[in-house]
């Protein structure tokens, strides 16, 4: 299929545009979607869409997060497919009631009478000193809510393909972007591009250790892997792409080969989702494990502002590499023969 190089933000924009063309029930709501910056959207995701589709279908809202997310739920149960944006992921804290008590439960609690085809888009991650209230990664909360799906695209192609799938999904999907990824570039297929939910991507094959992560943690793991390779350590890196559903098969079959697992997430360590992956891996492949499952995660502190502190609380490549080394300490390793 034909591809072009787009930014992650442009890829998201393309998915929105194409789905809005395809399906008149898709519409957008959120703050500053229409005229902010260069034709809309704090990160440019809705650029040009208000001009193209009108402000009926691309709606600037007041600052009323709980209210407009709840309205998304109400519209979703009456025939529409709303895509609602929260400007920052930290504002999920304001919208948990409609997301958790309404959207996630409506299908079940009403005995399957209706679905909730709602997408709530927002972003995670620390970036450039946004500090404690604009840097949180709260995906674990959402994973813990039956009825929600949780998507975490990393590449521009996945951004497009997964957002397309999310919009077509008949369930509430929380679509979590990452601030540091919006302006990264990559090839993106032209036209319809659909990436199924629940399929992880093995972005680097390796034989000694498996690292799973999402978003920028995958990039940092790849950085660490390159460094480790020079030391004779061959790391496999898996980008989960979606957290609910979770592609446990891909992880388990990797771990069965490598016998070691390191899980990386930017969200804070305590009660983060590393434990979820670990429990599932233990359940399916405990005997394959030659070392404790490790994790490198955000530290158990709020995100500080200063440039001298912020990087300390978010996992960096060096920390991932060190953790990988520790899991392999004392193990005799051989690199795979260079075939293929």
């Amino acid at each position: 299929m034909a591809e072009r190089i787009l930014t992650y933000s442009e890829a998201l924009n393309e998915a929105l545009r194409e789905e809005m063309h395809r399906d008149p029930s898709v519409f957008l709501m959120g703050e500053d979607l229409c005229t902010w910056g260069d034709e809309g959207g704090v990160f440019g995701v809705t650029k040009g869409l208000a001009n193209e589709f009108g402000t009926e279908r691309v709606r600037d809202t007041p600052i009323s997060e709980q209210g407009f997310v709840a309205m998304g739920v109400g519209a979703a149960i009456t025939g529409m497919r709303p895509v609602v944006e929260l400007m920052y992921g930290d504002f999920l804290a304001l919208a948990m009631e409609p997301l958790v008590n309404q959207a996630a439960k409506i299908r079940y609690m009403f005995g399957g009478q209706v679905g909730v085809p709602l997408v709530v888009r927002t972003n995670l991650g620390a970036s450039g000193g946004k500090a404690a209230q604009h840097s949180q990664s709260l995906e674990a909360w959402l994973m813990h809510v039956p009825g929600l799906k949780v998507v975490v695209p990393r590449t521009p192609a996945d951004a497009k393909g997964l957002l397309t799938t999310a919009i077509r999904d008949d369930n509430p999907v929380v679509f979590l972007e990452h601030k540091l990824l919006y302006f990264t570039k990559g090839p993106v297929p032209l036209g319809e591009h659909v990436v199924p939910l629940g399929r992880a991507a093995t972005v680097r094959p390796g034989s000694h250790l498996t690292i799973v992560g999402t978003h920028v943690m995958v990039d940092r793991a790849l950085e660490a892997a390159a460094e480790l390779f020079d030391e004779g350590i061959d790391v496999e890196v898996i980008d989960l792409r979606t957290l609910v559903p979770l592609d446990i098969e891909t992880i388990v079959s990797s771990v069965e080969r490598t016998t070691r697992l390191l899980i990386c997430h930017e969200s804070v360590e305590r009660a983060g989702w590393a434990g979820e992956v670990a429990m599932e891996v233990m359940k399916h492949a405990f005997d394959a494990l030659d070392a404790p499952i490790g994790r490198v995660c955000g530290k158990n502190v709020p995100v500080p502002y200063s440039e001298s502190l912020e990087p300390l609380v978010v996992p960096q490549a060096a920390e991932i590499a060190a953790a990988a080394r520790a899991l392999l300490a004392g193990v005799e390793l051989s690199l795979p023969a260079l075939t293929g």
Partner: protein
Amino acid sequence: MEQTGLNMSERTELLGLLHRMCVIRAFDSTLPELYTKGLSRGSSHAALGQEAVAVGACAAIGEDDYITSTHRGHGHAIAKGADIGRMMAEILGRSDGYCRGKGGSMHIADFSIGMLGANGIVGGGFGLAAGAALSAQLRGVERIVLCFFGDGAINQGAFHEISNLAGIWKLPLVLLCENNQFAMSARATAMVSGGDLAARSSAFGFPSESVDGMDVLAVRAAVRRAADRARAGDGPTLIVANCYRFAGHFSGDTMSYRSRDEGDPWLKRDPLVTFRRVLVEQGLVDDAEADAIEHAAELAVREAIEFAKLSPFPEPATAWEDVYG
């Protein structure tokens, strides 16, 4: 009691109102018994004394229009035309219930008649209602949304956010506050700053109206006016229907927070009694006919209970269904 224009041509409709009020009364009167017999569980909230609000309001809107409801939602559902057998089966946790036994009293919904659900979260209906109104507006269908909520719910921030959103977007929304004077043990007079619930719309520049919630025809008239505004594209209206919660918050509520007789003036104005009297006085019905309507309602509820009791409990496997679709 609003009586102008009661005439024979409306007779069927008016008797229908009385009938629905009687069904609600009979339905919610059985709740304590169901609970003590162990047939129902959780909490179910009776709307005894508030029948005129539900019935008057739903009589003012169309079949295709939507309603959102509350924890005290049986009356709303019945007024919108829900099947009391399936409602009762839901309350008994049976497979023929509206939610296949998964919801119970606080989560009865019937999407086929535009009843978008009771809600266990006080104020949870505001956003659903406004979202449905936006949906109707976007789809270009002539549907409006009637949002029932209580004097307690009006203090939720959701009321404010949704009122503002509905105001700026001129959504076809009727916000119907049932001021039954209490939110559990909390008196509206103590919890509502300024004391005037109807004043709340002035913050957003849309109109409000206070109406006697014991008078089914007054409620119907007020909601008709609001529905007309909504359909005309003029946006939301707040209606405050003043009424009284005749019974406890739920069965088991000892009501130690209110004196035994403080409700007497309200009880004297029982909406069923009043409406029946008017109909009789106007010669639209005689006592025998009115008695028959009441008995029919009671019978229907007894039948609903029998239907519910015969319905099997849901199969274990259904516990895993409908999480995703």
